[in-house]
């Protein structure tokens, strides 16, 4: 590919160059690392110098099947790791909502999954990683050795150098199947009750219908655990493919309302426990290749924030109220309740409290103004916005949410940058 863009498709394209061999990668001034473009904003883009693509650094290096420790290059996708791991009775302890994110991207964003309350972030399970800096020096970073640079690189947004390999501790499992159960809820308090009652379930997540007045917010609370027995491989999923980019966003208030109504009704009827393959539960949207195209040529923004537990209900209600008033519907609104497990990463996003992620079509200035309003609510509640999703937040509010940003900047490789770093961090 000569040019690449990010998943939101709202930030333009960057010229693309591949890295073939990590040891010989030349991190020139203004380098930005690109994995597989699954972050939503401009974290992986660089309109000035283009990006360095790690797709070809996609080799498995070692796998200790007894200990469940796997070592790979940064371009290996999480789906590839899952396929290899499950066969041997292991799986990734933390996985985000797409299997097409790369290992390097997962570390650089310190991604989280539907089990933060039990397993924390991705960085909690990184045993060691290799880092190449623009000076040519190569480091082996571990929690106990070069620990500050290790902590700066986990969630370090690609600003400390190129991750050349990483070793992970996987989680033992007996099967590729999960047992899941879905429960409808009719207001936010019910969501928090369900969340507290089901902490023993490995995975919990809620889909929210934000087209309703906040007091009547409804949604579907899903929980899942790994099955005790079953197959260790799954057949490849048949993927649908979005055939083209429509001239306008198909995601509009009317289509969102219709979809949400149908989705809630169907989901409410499926109350029994079900057995599903892991990719159905972890990666539902991956079933449609190019689903992001349905937002049209202007793309969309994903906005994800977290607020502390103490302000959980008030801040969430205020945000839902703002979204409802502006009729900023989203068919994909995901509410999670993060737990207390801290990540080693200085810039790790989760804190204990609720986190809502919404996809909003890019309708230009009115969308940006709405998101600016949400920033203020989040900031006043002591929360922060997730860099992996952000594409427009102003530096003052963004950096206020991350008191340890300075610790990342101390270890920043001066050659590394990105459109995000210039915009949101003022670098």
């Amino acid at each position: 590919m000569n040019k690449v863009t990010s998943w939101g498709r709202a930030h333009g394209e960057s010229v693309n160059r591949y890295i073939n061999v990590t040891g010989e990668a030349n991190l020139d001034y203004g380098a930005t690392i690109f994995g597989n473009g699954r972050s939503y904003g401009d974290l992986c883009l660089n309109k000035n110098e283009g990006v360095l693509n790690t797709a070809r650094l996609n080799n498995f290096i070692d796998f200790d099947k007894n200990k469940g420790q796997i070592t790979c290059g940064p371009g290996v996708t999480l789906g590839e790791i899952q396929a290899v791991a499950f066969k041997a009775g292991w799986c990734l302890p933390v996985t985000p909502g797409t299997q097409f994110a790369t290992l390097g991207g997962a570390i650089a964003n310190d991604v989280h999954g539907k089990n933060h309350h039990r397993k924390g972030c991705f960085g909690c399970h990184v045993l060691a990683l290799g880092l190449l800096r623009s000076s040519g020096e190569q480091y082996v970073l571990e929690p106990r050795s070069n620990s500050e640079l290790f902590r700066a690189t986990i969630g370090g947004l690609g600003l400390t150098g190129l991750i050349t390999w990483a070793s992970l501790q996987l989680m033992p499992v007996k099967s590729t199947k999960l047992v899941t159960q879905t429960t409808p809820f009719h207001n936010l308090h019910q969501f928090f009750e369900l969340s507290n009652e089901n902490k023993s379930w490995e995975y919990t997540v809620a889909w929210l219908d934000i087209t309703r007045p906040p007091a009547k917010t409804r949604g579907l609370f899903s929980k899942a655990v790994h099955m005790d027995s079953g197959p260790t491989t799954e057949p490849s999923r048949n993927r649908l493919r979005a055939p083209l980019t429509p001239p306008i966003s198909l995601v509009r208030p009317l289509s969102i309302s219709l979809f949400n109504e149908a989705y809630f009704r169907i989901g409410s009827h499926k109350r029994d426990r079900m057995v599903v393959p892991y990719d159905n539960f972890f990666y539902p949207l991956d079933a449609i290749e190019g689903w992001n195209k349905m937002y049209g040529p202007k793309g969309f923004y994903q906005y994800q924030y977290v607020v502390p537990k103490i302000n959980a209900v008030s801040a969430t209600l205020e945000i839902l109220s703002r979204l409802y008033k502006k009729k900023a519907g989203s068919f994909l609104s995901v509410l999670k309740n993060f737990g207390d497990i801290t990540s080693p990463g200085y810039m790790s996003f989760p804190i204990a409290g609720p986190s809502l992620a919404v996809d909003v079509p890019n309708f230009g200035t009115k969308t940006l103004r709405l998101l600016d309003d949400l920033d203020i609510i989040v900031s006043e509640a002591g929360g922060r916005v997730y860099a992996a999703k952000d594409g427009r937040m102003k530096p003052e509010l963004f950096t206020k949410g991350y008191p340890d940003l300075e610790k990342l900047l101390v270890h920043r490789d001066p050659a590394m940058t990105s459109d995000f770093a210039r915009r949101a961090l003022g670098l």
């Binding site: 591949y18 080799n59 498995f60 796998f63 796997i70 590839e80 066969k87």
Partner: protein, 245 residues
């Protein structure tokens, strides 16, 4: 079946190996390359991805034709070869007048070593039968001002393959001439202008494996290149001469 890949670190070859394994017909793979460490890295990666397949890696000095021949013979003695893919090669920088040593080196890697491999493989496989595929190129179909050295080396191999196809006509062995257009691999990285419509290696690999297993004589991949090359070959010279391709 035992699949041998010469040029085992090539991006297309690795995808062909993966596709072949997914089809369930291959139980053993031998990767042959010139760089010991790189070919073993590829072997280690594939072993982790496909833990039910036997992999081995061989590094060979391609500048020594005799070593190439004898290593293939030793290999076949231990594990008879059922399928073979010849995929190694270099792409010299285009639009450059080549020095005598460039010409020698390119002809050696892209043509001479291919002919040595094909001779060895056809001899070793003729008793049991089998499928051989050789990656040449659309560049070998007609000489172009931008890459005629590369094209000439591919053309040598295509003609040699045609002779082998004639020799082994209606036997249990087939040799397929694979002619890819530009494919999105490291080979394109040094081009000043990267082709916009380079094909995806996974898709090309699928077509190569299917073509090889069905005993196709000549396979263009993607298929549209057959039409494109036919048209180019039919152009009157005054027209062709004006094309800056």
């Amino acid at each position: 079946m035992h699949l041998v890949v010469i040029g085992g670190t090539s991006a297309i070859a690795i995808e062909v190996v993966q596709y072949a394994i997914e089809q369930g017909q291959v139980t053993r793979v031998t990767l042959i390359g010139r760089n010991d460490s790189k070919v073993n890295d590829v072997r280690a990666d594939l072993e982790i991805r496909h833990d039910d397949i036997r992999f081995s890696a061989l590094s060979i000095d391609f500048s020594d034709g005799e070593e190439l021949n004898s290593k293939l013979c030793d290999l076949a003695e231990t594990h008879p070869i059922d399928l073979a893919l010849v995929a190694h090669g270099v792409l010299p920088a285009p639009h450059r007048v080549a020095s005598p040593s460039d010409i020698s080196a390119t002809v050696h890697v892209n043509a001479t070593t291919h002919l040595i491999c094909l001779d060895a493989l056809t001899t070793l496989m003729s008793d049991r039968g089998g499928r051989i595929a050789v990656i040449t190129s659309v560049a070998g179909v007609i000489g172009r001002q931008s890459n005629y050295l590369y094209g000439a080396t591919k053309s040598i191999v295509s003609t040699y393959v045609q002779g082998l196809q004639h020799r082994f006509y209606q036997t249990s062995m087939s040799i397929t001439d694979i002619r890819p257009g530009p494919v999105e691999t490291p080979m394109l990285d040094n081009l000043a202008e990267r082709p916009r419509n380079a094909a995806c290696p996974k898709q090309v690999a699928k077509e190569i494996y299917k073509g090889m297993m069905s005993g196709r004589r000549v396979l263009y991949t993607p298929g549209r290149w057959r039409l494109i090359m036919t048209v180019l070959k039919c152009l009157p010279w005054p027209l062709y001469g004006k094309l800056r391709i």
